[in-house]
């Protein structure tokens, strides 16, 4: 029995062991299978795909970081900055890297001049959110942020209270504020992680001279640490940024300031829809000042909230019928070609009918009477101008105007310049006579203020037209001889008389000869013709007439409280002229000065 029981026990034991062995074998087989699978996969990854994986690692490890180029400054003719670029820093920390928010807040606050309490609250709040990025300060100027970062970099790794990250923002600053805002133009920040933040030009000189101003961003390539900074030892490529060049404009900050002030006064008095004043050097074509109304503050962009109208530079994007201001040009063209002579006489009876249309002069009674061309300019006589126009004929009239470069863009360094325009003579089928008459006193033709000012500069520059421009020291200027110098002097003299005795008496300055012409153009609206009550008042003056230094143009679009050029624009001109005389210390003219230089009209015959 004992035998038997022992045998059963042993047999059972054996059975159990046998089962255990089988199952152990099974389990070890399973583990071996898993092991083989892993070895196979390792072989495929590490041997077959090794290069692919190394490339994948390289791509993910290496980064390109832009190095920002500084956009060039815009300077006035004396090198005073009108626009310049400053760098501002956004600083951020990784809130998870902060052990002691109070100490870090104090450290940051002392370095950057920020309030401690708010910083600490910000850090704690970000830590509870488990955020990885917290911007602690925005728009810290470079001169303030850079010493702080230097100090931070010198701190040993384990003593740094927190990880700092920076983002550099270039910003355009205009130290002179609103001066010549439409000329300088605007830039917009374009954020780009790859190429680097850039200032993109939107309008004005910023846009046209962008090639010089922009510069080229550099870059550095290297391995990146997990926080996003390039590890200095791994730097492979470093292309330094090329800063943009500064450009020097022909503007003069002092003159510009005076012009802006004079224009402010005009706007205050007459509340026009728009106004413009520009100062041009007639000999060189340099634009010394150019102001527009309405305007805006380019630093704060105040004034642009409602409309983009303040961005408009009326000197080049405003076409209007010059009216009387064109008369000196047509008369000069006629004189220059010998179509009329200075001694010719034209009768004005204040009633002149062409093709059943009446042309009249704004004068009471019986008109201006019998006049020489000089008197026509002085009195601004429409009837006599019409007669001169008829005598010239449409083709010669058109050609004469064209030679003053009024019907083409001046090519100034500003974007989107408009082109003066009138119907060319070969396209006019009927009513030629009326056209001839109208064109002679400035109707049926559209010009830009800048082109007209440049045309007036011809009279001040011995009959030579010089391309108006803004970039200082240009050598590739277009110039053409438009008139004989004698003709230019004749017209200049006539313009002096227009100021002394004619329509522009409000522009007179005691002791100085001023040449000038007023213009009062009714605004024409398509299909309605001329509208009563909407005028463009303008005045173009040359100062001083015996030794011209500047051509000044003042223009007001739809002024209130008066609309004559002599009444709205001439006083503003006078203010500007006064400033120029003081600024340039122009000596007073003596009476003989003019008579020496100009040929007296009456004596010539």
């Amino acid at each position: 029995m004992r035998h038997r029981r022992a045998a059963v026990r042993i047999a059972t034991e054996a059975r159990i062991r046998e089962q255990e062995q089988k199952r152990l074998l099974c389990a070890s087989g399973l583990l071996t299978l898993g092991g083989m699978l892993i070895i196979g996969r390792l072989f495929s990854l590490q041997v077959l795909q090794a290069d692919q994986m190394r490339e994948a690692a390289r791509i993910r490890r290496e980064r390109t970081r832009p190095l920002l180029a500084r956009r060039g400054a815009i300077l006035d003719r004396w090198g005073r900055p009108l626009a310049q670029t400053d760098f501002y820093y956004h600083l951020a920390i990784d809130p998870r890297s902060v052990r002691d928010p109070t100490a870090v807040a104090r450290w940051l606050a002392s370095g950057l001049g920020l309030p401690v309490g708010r910083l600490e609250a910000m850090i704690q709040e970000a830590q509870t959110r488990n955020a990885r990025y917290l911007r602690i300060a925005a728009f810290i100027p470079q001169h303030r942020a850079e010493p702080f970062l230097q100090k931070y970099r010198k701190t040993p790794l384990h003593q740094r209270p927190a990880l700092l990250m920076k983002e550099v923002i270039p910003a355009r600053e205009l130290p002179e504020g609103r001066l010549a805002a439409q000329v300088i133009g605007l830039t917009a920040l374009e954020e780009d992680r790859e190429q680097g933040n850039m200032l993109k030009p939107l309008c004005g000189v910023e846009l046209t001279l962008n090639r010089q101003l922009q510069g080229v961003n550099g870059r550095e390539e290297g391995e990146i640490a997990p926080g996003g900074l390039i590890i200095p030892e791994t730097l492979e490529v470093r292309v330094p940024p090329v800063d943009g060049q500064s450009v020097r404009l022909t503007l003069d900050v002092a003159i510009q300031e005076a012009v802006e002030q004079a224009l402010d006064e005009l706007v205050q008095r007459h509340k026009p829809k728009g106004a413009l004043a520009l100062v041009l050097d007639p000999h060189t074509g340099e634009i010394l000042a150019l102001a527009n109304r309405p305007t805006f503050d380019p630093n704060t962009r105040k004034g642009l909230e409602r409309s983009m109208e303040p961005l408009r530079n009326r000197a080049i994007t405003f076409l209007y019928e010059p009216g009387s201001t064109l008369k000196p040009i047509t008369i000069a063209a006629a004189l220059d070609r010998g179509i009329i002579r200075p001694t010719d006489r034209f009768a004005c009876k204040n009633n002149f009918v062409i093709n059943k249309k009446r042309i009249g002069c704004v004068v009471h009674g019986r008109g201006h009477g019998v006049q020489t061309p000089e008197a026509v300019i002085k009195n601004s006589c429409n009837v006599a101008s019409a007669q001169i126009g008829l005598r010239m004929g449409l083709a010669r009239l058109y050609d004469g105007i064209q030679r003053f470069h009024l019907l083409e863009p001046t090519g100034i360094e500003l974007p989107a310049e408009w082109t003066g325009w009138t119907d060319p003579p070969d396209r006019i089928r009927y009513g030629r006579a009326l056209r001839e008459a109208n064109l002679a006193f400035g109707q049926g033709i559209f010009v830009t203020p800048l082109a007209l000012a440049a045309a007036y500069a011809v009279f001040a520059n011995e009959g030579r037209w010089v391309q108006p421009h803004l970039l200082y020291g240009r050598s590739d200027l277009r110039t053409t001889q438009v008139l004989h110098p004698e003709t230019a002097r004749l017209i200049l003299h006539a313009l002096v008389r227009a100021v002394e005795e004619g329509t522009g008496t409000r522009a007179r300055l005691p002791g100085y000869w001023i040449a000038g012409k007023t213009g009062t153009a009714q605004k024409a609206i398509p299909k309605h013709g001329y509208v009563r009550g909407k005028y463009i008042a303008s005045f173009i003056g040359i100062l001083p007439a015996d030794n011209p230094r500047a051509v000044v143009m003042v223009l007001a679009d739809e002024p209130q409280n008066g609309y004559y050029g002599g009444e709205v624009a001439a006083p503003t001109f006078r203010r500007i002229a006064q400033f120029l005389i003081w600024y340039w210390k122009i000596p007073a003219s003596n009476r003989s000065n003019l008579s020496d230089k100009a040929i007296r009209w009456g004596n010539r015959a």
Binding site: R23, L45, A57
Partner: protein
């Protein structure tokens, strides 16, 4: 060292031979302790126990070396500036402490007789299950790290705050309990008449044995299942699966019915599918549990989810792939700078990057050697508890290494399962060392 080669012929019908042959009874009894269907070189018990000390220590050393390497990479990680120059190496120092402590525990536990473990196994499992359930249900008990509540922190006078991960110890308790459970067997009532043997003994022998599943056993296994749910809620899906596999694996070694295990496996698969799919089908609680499907999608194509859920997987694969065939560049790996959890869950990626395929194969070889030693111990131990425990321990180490390495090379999704002996982590180290201590006790009793 002297190895004795003992093989039994491949025919495993030992029992029947024994039963059929009177002389065979005595022979069979002699042969039985070493009967094996495997043809293996069995190390002598002495060699076996020295291997059980030597191999884990070698793995720990590998772990320390690569922990230093990862810490060097960690210096460049600026998301937490170090408080002192030695600060980045704190995990290394800590790990070294854990290794020393672990060796002490191992040697201590190896002195305690096996019967103690067998008798007290249920107690440990019950205690740890309670702790895990408490961790799940009692708010404020556990400490949250990386969005999971796995740790209970204590203040230790010298070391500072020390976190204990009960789920790691729970693996050991599971192993102990299931080994103890399946070693309590009684011969089955069913007998079988064996035609050739009856004439000799005149009595039928039992056809099988059965496990003594009493009421207490059912209660404790139920508690174990609840504790598994608690682990899943931490959330730590990987550890839950590993512990479950460990329990089922020991049962399998202990002779549980293969059909029942297969049925259980099928049930688990169905449960898993429901676990993944239900939030999407019902829309209930989707914002919190919807990550499961996403994680599986990310696992299937990590490169498509590179900057999202697949980030770790992609980075780990890149790190492994950059290693190439053979390389020895300790400390020069770059990917560890970007790889989250590079010092524990993903330490294998750094090993692979810095030593290449050859180094990986050596490392896997070390694990295989350790597992083979434990398996050979499992086939020779005199008591059933010892055999089951050693086999279960081999499964534990083998499975955990497979899961961790599979995760690092993109075969498995990201789960929080450390690489045994190598990954940084005190709880894992201590529970593994304790298990090895018990294995040493088994080896001591195998004479």
């Amino acid at each position: 060292m002297k190895t004795i080669r003992r093989t039994v012929n491949g025919n495993s019908r030992v029992a029947r031979q024994v039963a059929s042959d009177a002389r065979g009874a005595a022979q069979g009894a002699l042969c039985l302790p070493h009967a094996s269907s495997m043809t293996v070189h069995h190390a002598s018990p002495k060699t076996c126990s020295s291997l059980l000390v030597f191999l884990p220590l070698l793995l720990c050393l590998v772990g320390l070396v690569f922990l230093v390497s990862v810490s060097i990479g960690g210096i460049l990680k600026p998301n937490m500036p170090p408080a002192s120059p030695l600060e980045p190496f704190r995990p290394v120092i800590q790990q070294a402490c854990w290794v020393l402590l672990g060796v002490g525990i191992m040697l201590t536990l190896s002195r305690i007789p096996l019967s103690f473990y067998q008798a007290s196994a249920w107690l440990w499992l019950m205690l740890l299950s309670m702790v895990l359930i408490a961790l799940w249900k009692v708010p404020g008990l556990g400490t949250e790290r990386n969005g999971a509540v796995r740790w209970i922190e204590f203040s230790v006078p010298l070391l500072g705050r020390v976190g204990v991960q009960p789920s790691e110890l729970f693996k050991l308790a599971t192993l102990l309990y299931f080994a103890a459970l399946y070693s309590q067997i009684t011969p089955s009532r069913r007998t079988r008449r064996l035609p050739a043997s009856t004439w000799l003994y005149g009595q039928n022998i039992p056809s099988s044995y059965r496990v003594a599943w009493g009421k207490g056993a059912y209660c404790i296994v139920a508690l174990w299942l609840v504790a598994l749910v608690a682990i899943e809620r931490q959330p730590d899906f990987g550890t839950m699966v590993l512990v479950f596999a460990l329990g089922v694996g020991v049962s399998f070694l202990g002779g549980a019915s293969v059909f029942k295990i297969a049925a259980l496996g099928l049930l688990a698969m169905l449960g898993f599918t429901a676990w993944v799919a239900l939030p999407h089908l019902t829309g209930v609680d989707q914002h919190r549990t919807g990550y499961r499907l996403e994680r599986i999608r990310a696992m299937l194509d990590p490169w498509a989810y590179e900057y999202d859920r697949g980030f770790q997987m992609v980075r780990a694969q890149i790190a492994v792939g950059s290693g190439g065939f053979a390389r020895l560049a300790l400390g020069e790996g770059r990917e560890k700078r970007y790889l989250p959890a590079a010092e524990n869950d993903y330490i294998f990626a750094t090993i692979a990057e810095e030593t290449g395929f050859v180094g990986c194969a050596l490392c896997i070889g070390l694990f295989a050697w350790l597992v083979a030693t434990l398996l050979s111990l499992a086939s020779r131990a005199p008591t059933r508890f010892g055999r089951l425990f050693a086999g279960g321990l081999a499964l534990w180490i083998g499975l955990q290494a497979l899961i961790n390495i599979g995760m690092a090379i993109g075969l498995l999704p990201t789960v929080g399962v450390p690489l045994p002996f190598i990954s940084a982590g005190g709880s894992s180290m201590l529970s593994l060392m304790a298990a090895l201590g018990i294995a040493l006790a088994i080896a001591r009793e195998t004479r």
